[in-house]
Symmetry: C2
Subunit: 142 residues, 2 copies
């Protein structure tokens, strides 16, 4: 769980103001835990206007502490992260649990692909879907 301080500092350090609504939204997201939708954040911070929720979520993405997760079915969720660097997601389709990870091996493969394809590669998006160890355990016991 990313600490409140980290999140607030990231906003302040980026030259943006650390306002009351923004503080509330940070608390709301932390309450929501591992992963959540935009709508859940709206619900969880009743005092804050809808537009501000989306604006703040965009801001947090720009600052690198919130990232979009494209689910199995194409729906999009969000997730706080203290890892501003590039990473991918390992998503449990059962419970929604999400892990961040990075893999030098995969980055190498992609670079190689760029060389072969003639594309000048700028970025990529990789989401991996599966069933986490905990859910697997449960399912196995049925």
């Amino acid at each position: 769980m990313v600490s409140r301080q980290t999140l607030e500092r990231r906003i302040a350090d980026s030259g943006r103001r650390l306002t009351e609504p923004r503080r509330q939204l940070i608390e709301a997201m932390r309450n929501l835990g591992d992963h959540f939708t935009a709508d859940q954040v709206v619900q969880e911070a009743p005092g804050v206007g809808r537009a501000t929720v989306f604006r703040t979520m965009r801001l947090l993405q720009e600052v690198g502490v919130l990232c979009q997760v494209v689910l199995d079915d194409g729906a999009v969720g969000y997730r706080l992260t203290d890892n501003a660097r590039h990473h991918h997601h390992l998503i449990c389709s059962q419970c929604g649990a999400t892990d961040d990870f990075a893999s030098a091996g995969i980055e190498d493969q992609l670079a190689e692909l760029g060389r072969q394809s003639g594309f000048d590669i700028h970025g990529h998006r990789l989401e991996i879907y599966g069933v986490c160890a905990a859910c697997n355990e449960e399912l196995g016991c049925h």
Copy 2:
């Protein structure tokens, strides 16, 4: 470009009916070329109801001849493909041109990751963004 016959056969072979609206939509998508949005299809097939457009697009996805492409900015586009097998996309952020590709190397890396993570991996989604050779040429000449 995927042939009309291929597309129509895929529908028929799956036990679904080959109706006039579906035929029109197939033509519309073929007219739209390499990549298109749902709304473009709606525009391109004026006789066909909105709901039917989305239903047919879902059907074509199930049958494996249409796939979603998640763009750079999170927007989603579509693309006809004759490759029903698993593949990834190489997307030009300049012109939108999209190539399908598959990479055994990457699949291996992912399998390895599954072993390490404790996740039982079922699938993944990989989109690569860059600038295609043609666009690169143009940009370089400025």
